[in-house]
């Protein structure tokens, strides 16, 4: 928790500096720094509207899964809960994890239409080797393809 709030403080600081520079300073270096910050942030978005264009597991996690499972994979609970990916025995099955990413689970939407087999494999392998997980058996894109529903053209 400490780490998390610390990283937010850093983000907030960068943003505050950027905001001041936009209003008060035409100093090219400061402006450039600000643009780099917002560019990093904007890289979170896919370059296409209908499919994710990121290919690495981490980049895909940061642009989708993180919304609910949070930065550290801990999930979150209140009235209802987004389950943690850390210390979760369901992560034991790579087929289960990839299947959930493809077709969803309970309230969670599936991503089969927006991610390729390679991307689903990358995210699956990422979450099964992070957040304290250390599963030794990665899933291959061909194994993801086999999990797709029959009418799924992707």
């Amino acid at each position: 928790m400490l780490t998390r709030s610390l990283s937010y403080a850093v983000v907030a600081l960068i943003v505050m500096t950027g905001g001041v520079s936009a209003q008060q300073s035409a100093d090219p270096q400061v402006t450039q720094g600000e643009e780099t910050d917002s560019e990093n942030l904007l890289e979170r978005f896919s370059e296409e509207s209908e499919r994710f264009t990121q290919s690495e597991g981490e980049a895909l996690y940061r642009t989708t899964c993180q919304a609910c499972h949070m930065e550290d994979g801990e999930g979150s609970a209140g009235a209802g809960a987004h389950p943690p990916l850390a210390n979760n025995p369901k992560m034991n099955s790579k087929h289960f994890v990839a299947g959930v990413i493809l077709i969803g689970y309970h309230g969670m939407p599936g991503f089969s239409g927006m991610m390729s087999d390679e991307q689903v494999a990358a995210v699956t392998n990422y979450v099964r080797t992070r957040f304290g997980n250390d599963y030794p058996d990665p899933i291959a894109p061909e194994q993801v393809e086999a999990l797709r529903p029959p009418d799924d053209s992707d």
């Binding site: 928790m1 942030l41 209140g78 309230g107 927006m114």
Partner: protein, 533 residues
């Protein structure tokens, strides 16, 4: 048409037809998802009332739960509502200056708007055919104002077309109409359509196309004073010795087609968005407040439901007082109406048929988000002559909605600066949902300044909402598909012994207030019938 051998516009015409077919297919898809459905409201419910003392326990103090409580009590039932939050209204809410909300993950959303602007994170506009909503607003005294959905002065924007310069909605619409009219007239004049259009019809069509598309005497869509009267002026007609008027120049067909701006125009096409639309004066929560005035005395806040148990005669609901981990209490009643979103309900212990349990587990919840930004002045009105309405863009912010109140006033005003839902099939809402509240504001500023450069100097503060980070809904609304409806919808809506579900997820108008109203009305009608069977 596809057989017509004319050049070089044939390829372009085919592309246009393809796009029309695409729009029709999209509309069809939206209908089957329930997004374009007509309301089935037929007036206030005619309930018989209970045969003796009957108690109905309602779970959730959103509009569905409160409407059910309001009508059932009027009919003579004893009612009580259990609500998880420390506020009423559910997803029908409004953020104003001073509001704070801690979303999942512990991030705090702040709203420090200094003026009277606000952000409606959920519902924000009402189609006039959503009759149940309008009728209850009339009965409960909720004043309405027009909501401008389509403003011809608002922008359509593509980052990769026209040098990133936004184009006016009215210009794109009139130019497409003019170009299509010219092509159709050309085709008619060449005799390409002689087999399908009679000679008399052809003359009528040509006459109409000339007027509709503002074509010249040779049936061409060209700049003219006549077109200025329809499309607007580069130099507007003035007074005294001001410069002579000059008509505006149409955009050519091919760049228009390739810009994607024609597609953006389809955002205004659905029956749901037909003008005029309306909104409650002062914020969408005026509707939930109106219901709360009627039923607040039967609402218990801070009650987290954990179990719904039932038998043939009664239902017993266990809840934690004060939220997760609180002291467990129980309430017993003759009937239970549960409006808890399925995404949350699936995680609770519920006594019901296996089929209903499968239905509860089957429906994914849509991603949706909004960002609201407050600015020092209404530059969109003062500089760009955009008075209300919505601009669309292919940037990840998708749309910018301008306030439809406080026109021309000095002082701060709030834009709905970014909004999308996953139903549109875009990736962006997922990515916005991964951001911290501050990052969402930064992204909305970094993107929006490409359409309104005034952002750089006029920004004051921002706020946002991410529906997947709301612990009491875990998403925005039930995202049904045809297959899911076929398999589960009826089961989901049926009365299971003493329990019936209600809310937008139990309707053919998901995500809309009307859906939750109609669902609640139908649930209490059937409950009352069962009571009196």
């Amino acid at each position: 048409m596809a057989m017509t051998p004319f050049h070089p516009s044939r390829r372009q015409l085919l592309a246009m037809i393809g796009q029309v077919a695409g729009a029709a297919a999209m509309y069809q898809a939206m209908t089957s998802l329930g997004f374009a459905a007509e309301s089935g409201y037929s007036g206030e419910p005619d309930l018989q009332g209970p045969r003796g003392r009957r108690r109905v326990l309602i779970l959730g103090a959103g509009v569905a739960g409160m409407l059910a409580a309001y009508e059932l009590r009027r009919a003579g039932y004893a009612v009580k509502i259990l609500e998880y939050q420390d506020r009423i209204g559910g997803r029908c809410l409004t953020l104003r200056g001073g509001d704070r909300y801690t979303e999942m993950g512990g991030h705090e959303i702040t709203c420090d708007f200094e003026g009277d602007g606000y952000l409606n994170p959920g519902p924000w506009r009402l189609p006039v055919h959503h009759r149940a909503v309008f009728d209850y607003c009339r009965r409960l005294g909720v004043p309405m104002q027009p909501f401008i959905n389509k403003n011809n002065k608002a922008y359509l924007h593509s980052a990769t077309a026209f040098g990133g310069q936004p184009q006016r909605v009215g210009h794109v619409e009139k130019d497409m109409r003019g170009h299509v009219s010219e092509l159709l007239a050309k085709s008619l004049n060449q005799g390409d359509l002689d087999e399908t259009v009679s000679v008399e019809d052809r003359e009528k069509l040509l006459e109409g196309l000339k007027e509709w598309g503002v074509l010249d005497s040779n049936y061409r869509y060209r700049v003219s004073d006549e077109l200025g009267d329809v499309r607007g002026w580069e130099i507007r007609p003035g007074g005294g010795l001001m410069p002579d008027k000059k008509p505006s120049q149409p955009i050519d067909l091919s760049p228009l087609l390739h810009s994607g701006l024609w597609d953006q125009l389809f955002n205004f096409h659905d029956y749901l968005f037909e003008p005029p639309m309306f909104e409650p004066v002062g914020g969408m929560d005026r509707i939930s407040d109106a219901f709360a005035r009627e039923v607040a005395d039967v609402i218990q806040l801070n009650a987290r439901v954990i179990r719904i148990a039932q038998n043939e005669n009664s239902v017993t609901v266990s809840y934690e007082d004060g939220g997760r981990g609180g002291t467990v209490h129980q309430e017993t009643a003759d009937w239970c109406i549960c409006t808890i979103p399925l995404s949350v309900l699936v995680q609770l212990e519920v006594d019901c048929s296996d089929a209903m349990r499968k239905a509860i587990a089957a429906v994914p919840y849509a991603s949706a988000f909004k960002v609201g930004l407050e600015f020092r002045r209404r530059f969109w009105e003062q500089d760009d002559w955009i008075m209300g309405g919505i601009s669309y863009t292919d940037l990840p912010l998708v749309q910018i909605a301008y306030p439809n109140y406080g026109f021309l006033s000095d002082g701060p005003a709030v834009l709905q600066a970014a909004y999308d839902t996953s139903t549109a099939g875009r990736t962006f809402t997922y990515s916005w949902s991964t951001m911290t509240p501050q990052e969402r504001i930064d992204a909305a500023l970094a993107l929006g300044r490409r359409i309104h450069p005034q952002y750089d100097t006029e920004f004051m503060s921002g706020t946002s909402w991410v529906w997947h980070r709301v612990d009491w809904s875990l998403g925005c609304y039930g995202e049904w598909t045809d297959d899911l409806r076929d398999a589960h919808y009826k089961t989901l809506c049926e009365i299971d012994h003493r329990l019936v579900l209600a809310g937008e997820h139990c309707s053919h108008i998901p995500a809309w207030l009307e859906g939750s109203f109609l669902s609640a009305l139908d649930a209490i009608r059937r409950l009352d019938e069962r009571e009196n069977a």
